[in-house]
Amino acid sequence: MIVAELKEISEIRRMIDRYSSILVVGCDSCVAECAAGGRRETMLLAAALKLSYAKDDKQHTITESCLDRQCVDDFIEGIAHLVPEHDVLLSLGCGAGVQALARVYTDKPIIPALDTLFIGETEMRGVWQENCLGCGQCKLGYFGAVCPVTRCSKKLMNGPCGGSKDGHCEVRPDIPCGWDMIIRRLDTLGELDRLNEYVPPVDWSTSHSGGPRRVVREDQKP
């Protein structure tokens, strides 16, 4: 899923203060799982904004609504009746949600309330871990299902750097060394031999280096 975090209210306000009527739009998918932009957070943000404006003695209309998915047209249309009466849409979706709203509601400004961070997993309640960069050529099968592109701070493909210490990355002690994880996992599986092979340079053209990516499947089109 996509993991995101709520921006500071002050930053959000800098972007929306110029509008008098604000529609806060949540997304009950990924960003609900990471407790940043789901139904509950949409309600909380709307309340926080009302309070913040009331404190400053400012008159703003704030309405809230949460979509099941902010990145799919069929769902986005669910707020069509609310959009015309508001000046701005404040999105609690990820970056994809914000841009999908903008594509559908072409005459409305769309403002992000979240910082979109990464593709990751819920490791435990309150802990989300990045583990996929979406490089477009999944090689997890060779690395014991631990991604060197994501979990190694230097994207090393041929083993750990000299900064791996006691299982920690040189960048910060709270980052586990991705290569330490790969080696331990392959050792457990009895597949350490997979690492003897030289891994050639990664083809980054399938990653974002090749420009924004797009998947078109004729068999799926209506």
Partner: protein, 307 residues
């Protein structure tokens, strides 16, 4: 002989090689570099020029190598993959060779968050082993990545680094073998303070037959103060500084700590020189290049062979 590198000639002739590190200035001040270069001239087989080490912006290693070469040095060009993609790395290899540089040390580089440009993008298009392979492909097959032929391929003597003290320990010698397989001709190690652990690493390397095909240069960094020893023990990635060593430096008065540090460096050189498979030393006297001659004099290594 694979190349015209002086370092290769020295090592191939069986001499105990001596290289020393030289950090380019944080700016364009030629005088700073010339002063360091002058202090080292005649005492070493090659001067090893760092590439924005610890991610601090400095004069480019290609430019500094070229300047030192003009002074009569044989430079070793350090190249990190942190800052340049494969286009820039390969281009700089062409340029460096055209400027007369014959030896390259392929590194990944310290992470950019250590330096003075913490907000920079880390490139890491290639890793150090892929860079080693790239340089070898240029030299032995005259091709760049992807297979296109080169007009006048650079023929570099290829080095890589290894940290015998990093974890996971069982993996270090495997990685060394991987570097050899990729095309490394010589290896420079991380600074050695834990001589026992280094000896263990060397024994493993000898047993695996790695040292028959690869020259290993033992990394030596003289300690200037007890504070520096503590800093390296706690703050520098991948360092193993035993507590007993810190205590030894801290145990002498402040004004005598530098001398004690140099004494330790000389002792370490003498110890590693006795180890099977160690082909030379690489002296990293950080911002202390002017003390290199006295260390080498004391270690009996100041006179360099003619090759």
């Amino acid at each position: 002989m694979k190349t015209e590198s002086r370092l290769e000639k020295v090592l191939a002739a069986g001499h105990f090689a001596v290289t020393a590190e030289c950090g380019p200035p944080k700016g364009s001040d030629l005088a700073v570099l010339e002063k360091k270069g002058k202090a080292l001239l005649g005492y070493i087989d090659s001067v090893n020029v760092t590439d924005n080490q610890t991610a601090i912006v400095r004069m480019s290693s290609v430019a500094a190598c070229s300047i030192l070469k003009a002074m009569g040095h044989e430079p070793v060009l350090q190249m990190v993959t942190r800052d340049r993609n494969r286009i820039a790395l390969q281009s700089d290899l062409f340029g460096a060779y055209a400027l007369g540089i014959r030896t390259v040390l392929c590194l990944t580089g310290d992470h950019q968050t250590f330096g003075n440009q913490k907000e920079a993008v880390g490139v890491f298009d290639l890793d150090s082993i892929q860079l080693v392979r790239t340089v070898r492909e240029m030299r032995d097959n005259g091709r760049i990545i992807g297979g296109e032929p080169i007009q006048g391929p650079p023929k570099m003597f290829i080095g890589a680094a290894e940290n015998p003290f990093a974890d996971p320990v069982s993996w270090r010698v495997v990685r060394l073998a991987k570097k050899l397989q990729a095309g490394a001709d010589f290896i420079q190690t991380q600074c050695i303070y834990n001589v026992d652990r280094f000896e263990q690493f060397m024994r493993q390397a000898v047993d695996m037959g790695v040292t028959e095909k690869l020259y290993i240069l033992a990394g030596i960094t003289p300690i200037k103060t007890a504070g520096m020893a503590k800093y390296m023990a706690n703050k520098v990635a991948g360092m193993d500084v035993p507590e007993s060593l810190i205590q030894r430096v801290a145990g002498v008065p402040k004004e005598k700590q530098a001398a004690e540090g140099i004494k330790i460096a000389v002792e370490t050189i003498q110890q590693v020189r006795e180890m099977k498979g160690v082909a030379g030393i690489h002296l990293m006297a950080i911002e202390w290049e002017e003390r290199v001659p006295e260390i080498l004099e004391a270690a009996g290594l100041a006179k360099r062979p003619q090759v």
